[in-house]
Every structure is written in structure tokens, then in C-alpha cells.
Symmetry: C2
Subunit: 524 residues, 2 copies
Amino acid sequence: MSKKVENKRGVVARKVKGFRDIDSNLNQLKWKIINAASEVYKKYGFEHWDTPVLEYADCLGKYLPDEDTVDKGVYSFKNPELEPVLRADGKELRDDDAHVVMENAFLSMRYDLTSPLARRYAEGLLEKYQRHQLGQLKPPLFRRYQFGPVYRYEIKLGPGRFREFWQLDFDNVGTNDVAADAEVCMVLSDALEAIGLPRKSYVVKVNNRKILTGYLKDLGVENDLDEQNIIRVIDKMDKIGLDNVALELAGGRTDSSGAAIKGLNLDANLVIGIVDFIKNFSNQKTRQEVLADLRNLEIKNETAQDGIQELEKMDKILSTLDFDEERVIFDPSLVRGLAYYTGPVYEVESLQTYIDAKGVERRIGSICGGGRYDTLVENLLGIKVPATGGSIGVDRLAELLMLTNQAPKRKDGPVFIAYFDEELVPLYQRMARDLRDAGIETEVYYGMDKKKMKKQMAYADDRNCPFVILVGSNEAEKGVATVKNLKLGKELSNTISDKKEWNERVQKEIPMAELADYIKGEMG
Amino acid sequence: MSKKVENKRGVVARKVKGFRDIDSNLNQLKWKIINAASEVYKKYGFEHWDTPVLEYADCLGKYLPDEDTVDKGVYSFKNPELEPVLRADGKELRDDDAHVVMENAFLSMRYDLTSPLARRYAEGLLEKYQRHQLGQLKPPLFRRYQFGPVYRYEIKLGPGRFREFWQLDFDNVGTNDVAADAEVCMVLSDALEAIGLPRKSYVVKVNNRKILTGYLKDLGVENDLDEQNIIRVIDKMDKIGLDNVALELAGGRTDSSGAAIKGLNLDANLVIGIVDFIKNFSNQKTRQEVLADLRNLEIKNETAQDGIQELEKMDKILSTLDFDEERVIFDPSLVRGLAYYTGPVYEVESLQTYIDAKGVERRIGSICGGGRYDTLVENLLGIKVPATGGSIGVDRLAELLMLTNQAPKRKDGPVFIAYFDEELVPLYQRMARDLRDAGIETEVYYGMDKKKMKKQMAYADDRNCPFVILVGSNEAEKGVATVKNLKLGKELSNTISDKKEWNERVQKEIPMAELADYIKGEMG
């Protein structure tokens, strides 16, 4: 081949950067999580809705947490289709010559499941009511759960960071009742325990953003943007620690790689005030103690007082229903990065640790989040629609279960019927059908290595098949099958070195008619 | 508001054109289908994998059926990220100055689940082997199933046509064994019956493309593109009928809207030859009769003879396992539109009818498809990797179940605990917890209409709640709850006009402690 030809563009089989395939082991775990949590969501009366992965960018808005990616964090494209530009009243925008203005609108892969919910809720009301009727409307209640992939266009992709990951949300749109916020905490806790997390291995942390907002107002922060910036820095606490938070609030800092991180250049008194506030709550206390501390701060701002009262109400409900500090705690330094939260916020922290490849003990950290977002729908609909909800990070949780050995690293494959003889294929297929009818996952080998038993055994091993069934012409004549217990074989290979003894224990000749019963019995 | 302001661009809550939200009724049905079929796929030894919805356009290729959209049918965008162009050997392409050539590659929403499978299979081998080793390799067997949304960028969107719809695929990559093709038919049949379709309400139609290819070669069609074009026209048979197929093969035709449809301008003898072939098989015959007819055609071409032999083998396996013509038939006029099919093709046709809004009896038509695609992976990997698989159209099947009244039009909502009194909220919550603990989906009302019982009842009715529980201070003191059976209420409202009698039947006072047992009993 000449050099010129070799140097041409090729089609190389590859995933888009930042994406991944999910294998059957991870999928088994993922769907165990989704199904267990969905059952809990349903029990609380949430119903299952779905929205598309693709939305008009303007409908989703931009509420992503990380300042570095606030413009770039949404995976957006120009729509190839030319469509009319719409006015706020839903009619087509026209130019001075009365021609409809057309554009290739930006489309976005959804970055969470909450923004599409807001779009769907707003669209539902717009379909049902005239715009002028909306003002008189009490927003109807909508309780839905949803699971599916969400997308972030992250430029820095470390190990284990992906642009596509799954969330498992439940939301309560059209409620201003703090009881619904308390319910979110209970649902998250019940769902995690249904998934299999033991009590005390996680904790739901609760705060109310109004407290910090009011406290900051008392300190002189009046501007919403300033508040958002401060919240973004505080949100980094878990990652960078209080000292670095203080530096970022002030003149900035240098990170471990030597890169300069710009500071917010806040007034020193303001920085001290914020740091003092956070320090107050750095040690875990009972909910009653936290509430007492908050009252002792004597914050004048009314919004903050509202926030404290809401926390008090949540505490009362949680206590009545026996959700004590083993499951739900208050943490006034918790902010959650998403810009659309307006009041109560929740985060579930896993308290479990694992040992990483370098032998270092590590925590998984946050596995669920949520909060109240009373203005998200308003931005699309023009009327107040209070709402609250929570979200489980499916991939993060699956990772936790694997890292802490609470999930099998590999799922079992099917029972494997090896291929010996073309004449016997109908027999293999009938055997397979009988096993399947008995509820046993079974595969007949149809691959390209029909003549190589070793390769077939390697395939069965690779699939983690628990049993291999071998039937040659001898066995067929005798009406029996040789059943090899691969799982037992692996166990015994550590203790039994004698090949004959090993074979006797691992391999049995079973009459064809008893095959299903035998395997079911061995599977236990 | 001045006219100028009103005329500005607005953010209007809306879905992207061609997309839809899935409500809880459709979702219940959809997941019933997915779960039932997945169990069957697993029983046959397929394992669950997932791939991203977004792929590099060049990796997916273009194999869509409809000629009108062959260029536009894939929903593609320019990647916002600049990345190196790759050569066929996977290395970066460099220009004459040795600089890496960069581009914003095209990304596509996957249009099916088979092309991403081919990408994933090829990528897996490229990760494991050096390119020069691939030539010696027998492609390993990979049996996976997958479900999820796929996307088509269709410009003409009629009612019920969407750009996002779900498929439920299983595939067998790395097998050239016709037994695997027979297995596909069995899996499709078993899966549909597991979903709830009665025997004889559907039929798996099987053909082998090699037969038509060989027959066309005998008629003088040598060019692959000509063959593809002919196949595309024949694929319209079900929609437009044989006469119109003949016209499209010849000089063209005018459709019902008066639009001119271009013809292929084939030679008259060729058109007659093709029409004769199709006519041969227009009446349903046994598989043996079809095979006899095919042999009687005395097609000389070897490819066609191969195809006939493969059908014979499939018949033998299917007959051995009692899959007779009630479930699987042969139809040599079946082609399937996708360009990547190379041999056996399958299609499941629903034989059920429904009455549409205009009172006309209609068929649903095709609900599953599949086939053998021996060259799809080769296009990415450079080595032969034979493969075969099938796919269930989840949305189409859900529609069928609803149109033929085999699925409930509405799912039940949760048991609804009405809100009377703030003081009683903890009691409501404890009741809800007890019901949930007993396995009953239950919701406490947290919406904005707390003072209007009528609105709360309308909400419960809207959610299709089976029971409403009413507890005011009187009931609370007595330790009882009033339980209203909404389902029974609806039934009885047709037969009982006396309000008192109706109330007595529908509404009961139940001691708090017996609530869960009572509701469970009533639910049956």
C-alpha cells in the first residue's frame, strides 16, 4: 500500500468522547437500583412519565452547578431544521415585512430530568388553558417519577467521569407544603434502603437555602448574582475544604496543579461572616441542636426566619414518622450547586468507605440530591408554581455498591449447551427448550468455534456460565447428559489438586429427563 | 405593554418537533412489554448491554430503508468539540506539515440499535487485538439484548409518527449458523406470547434475501445499487400494493395526492419477471409448499440456491421444535428495507384488526423485524463477522395492545388520602405509611387546593385513584376513616340513581387499624 493511500481518513469504530457502553454486569445492578427505587416512588403515589432526551435549549435554561462549565456544560447543537421563531405569546415572530422569522434553533441533550419536567408541566397547562386564564389558576398537583440518561458537555473528563449518566427522579409540582419536602427525604431514605443500603450507611442532609440567603442579606449581599457566586464557592466545601473556600471568597488561590483560581474578591468582613456561619455547623448535631444554634444566630432577615421555620416543620414531621438522626440530619452549610433551588435542599451522603487501587481509604460522597425549586416553572409559564423533588444518581450508586462489595462483580451467564455434533443439534435445542420452560436461562452454542471444545469452554467461562452441558453421540444413545458445574469447579480448584477427584466432584452424568430438576437443585 | 415589547422573541414551553412525552398509562404498558420480552431474551442466553444514544455519524453508517430520507433520515449534528481526524489504522491524520488535522465531526442520534452494536463489537476487538491479528481471528460470539429510544429525522410527520421511538433488540454476532436464524424466529414468537399476544394473532414471516438477489441476477440485474433500489420498491408492497410496485419499477406513478412518484425505469421484461416472482407467493402456503414452489422456479444462480437451502434448514429446526405454520411462515416476497441485510430476513405481522375513529377496520401490520447482516461489522473491522438478530417495535406493539383492547387504557392511581385539617397531617402520614408498608400505593394530598374538597376529589378522579380516604376531626376522634370506593362508585352510578343508596354502597366507615386489610380485600 502506498503511503498516500494509508494517509486517508478512515472510519474507526469508537464511542463519542466521554460516552461509554454499559455491560451486563453493570446493567444488572443499574436496573436493580432503578426497579427497587421505582417501587418506592410508586408506593408514595408518584407516576411514571418520560420526556425526550432532546429539548429546545431555551426551554431547559441553564442552571448547571459548576461555574467553569456554566456556558459549556450543556451539550447543544444547532437544529438542522429551519423553524419559525416564536414570541412569548406562542405566536410566530414576524419581521417588518410581516414575514415569519425563521431560525435553526439550538437543541440540547437534557442535563437533568427536572428542567424537562418543568417544560412538560408548563406545556401541559398551555395546552389546557388560555394564557389569560393562567393568572387565576391554582397550579394543579403533578407527582411523577422518571429515570433515564442525562448529558453534560464536560471538557475535563477524569476517570469515571462521563458525559452520559443516569438519574432517577421524583418530583412534586404544584405544592408549597413543607410536608412535601419532608416526604422527599423519606422517599430518598426508603428508596436507598429498598435498594439494599443498610441503615446508618448513608444520611440524608437537609438545609434551607433561605437561611443562608437571609444571612448573606444581613451581611450586605443584595445582588442575586453575588449570592449565586458565593453559593457556588460554598458548594465546593466537600472537595476543597473550608480554608480554600475562604480563599476563593477572597482574593483567590492556587490549586494543587499550580493553576490560579480566581477569587470573588469579597470584603474581608463578609468572608469572615460566611466562614463563621459554616464553622458553626461543622460538627454533627441533633436536628434540635441545629435549630437552636440557628435561632441563636439571631438573623434579622425575614427570609432566613422563614427558612428556619420550614426546617422546624420538617423536623416535626420527620420525628412523628420516626425518621430520626440515623436517617435525616440538618446541615445549614449545605447549599447544592444548581441555581434553581429556592428553599429546602437535600443531599444524601454515603458514609461507607472503600479501599482504592493505591490502598487509600476513600468515601463515595454524595449519591442523591434534590431541593425545592419554586421559580423554575414560573420562568416558562409566568405564574408561580412551587415544586420540590429528589434524584438518585444511578451510576454513582451502582459504583458504590460495587466498590463496597454489596453487589456481585459479575452476573451469572446462562446454562451452556456445548456443540459436539451437527446431527445432535435438534436434541440440543429440545434440551434447551425444556430447561427454559423450567425457568432456566440456557444457550445452545451457535458460534464459529464448533470444532474446538476448548474455545467453547473458554466462551462459557467468559460468560460466567454456572453449568456446561456436554452431549456427544455416546451420551445421546444412553439418554444422558454430562453436566459440568463450572462454579463448583472454580471453588474446588483451590482445594483439590487431584484431577480425577476434581472431575468426580464437578462432573456428573444425568439422565436427560432429570436435567432441569438436577440443575435447579444445584442452583439452589 | 407596548407593541414593540410584545413582538420580541419568547421562550415557549414546547417539545422539539416530532418528539413526545410518555404518560404513565403508556409507560406502564411499554415497560410491561420490555420486561416480558427481556425475560424471554435472557432465557435464551442473551445478556443486557447498553450503548449511548449519541454516536459518531461515520460509525453508524447509513442503512435506512426509505429512499426519500436516506440522506436526511439520520438526526445528525456537528460536534461542538474539535477533534483529530483519524486514519483507517486509528492514528491521527496529519497534513503535509505534520500537523494533526482537526474537525468538528458529525454526531448522530442512533437510528437503530444494530449499528451501535456493530460499533461496540468492532471497538471491543480493536481494544483486544492488534489490527494485523484480526485476519487470523474467528470472530467471538456475542449475544446481547438492548432496549432504548432510537431516532429518525423524518420530515413528513403524520399522526402517530415520531422521531423518537423505542426498540427492543436481541442479536447474535459471530455466528454463520442458520440455527441462530431459526432461533431468532422462536425468540420473537416466544417474546410476543410472553407479552400476551395470543397464538394465531400474529405470524413470523421469513424469507432469505439471497433468493431474490439470485433471481434478479438471473434476470440480468448485476449492479448492487439497482438491486437495492428494486428491494426498496418491493418493500412498499404492503403499503401500495403490487400494481403500484409494478408502476414504480417501470415508468413511475401518481399517488393519491396527485404527486408524481419517479419510477426506476426498468426494462419491461425485468418488471414482469419481478411481478411474476411476487405473484407466486401471494397466497399463504405451508413452508413445504413454498420450498417446493421455489425449487420449481429453477433459479440457476448459486446464491439463490444457497438461500433456498438455508430456508430448508430453518424449516427443519422450526418443525423439530413444534414451531409450525401457526407461528412461522415463509414469504419469498418479504425483503425488509434496511440495506444491511444479507440473507434470512424476518418480519412479524399482527393479524389483529381494530376499528378506527371513522369506523373502518384496520390492521396494525408489522410489529417486529430482523435479519442476518453478515457485512455490517466488516465495514468497521475489515474482517467477516456474520451476525443475525431481531427487534420488537415497542411503541407499535403498545399501540396494538391498546387499539385491540388487550391493555387497560388507564392505569390505577394510588389510594388517595384527602386533606381536611392541618392538625391531622401527622395522622394522614402515619396512615399512608401503614398502607405503604402493606404494599398499597398511597398518596397524601400536598397540593394547593387544601380547602376545596371538590378539587381534591377531581384530582383523585383524574389520577384514577381506586379509593379515597377521608378523615376529619370526627373520624379521628372515633379512630375510624371513611373510605370511598371510586371504582365501584363509577360502576354503580349507571345503575343506582338514589344518592343515599349509592353512598351506602360506595362509602364505608372503617376502623383505622383495619384500613390496610379492608383496602387489600376490596382490591381483590
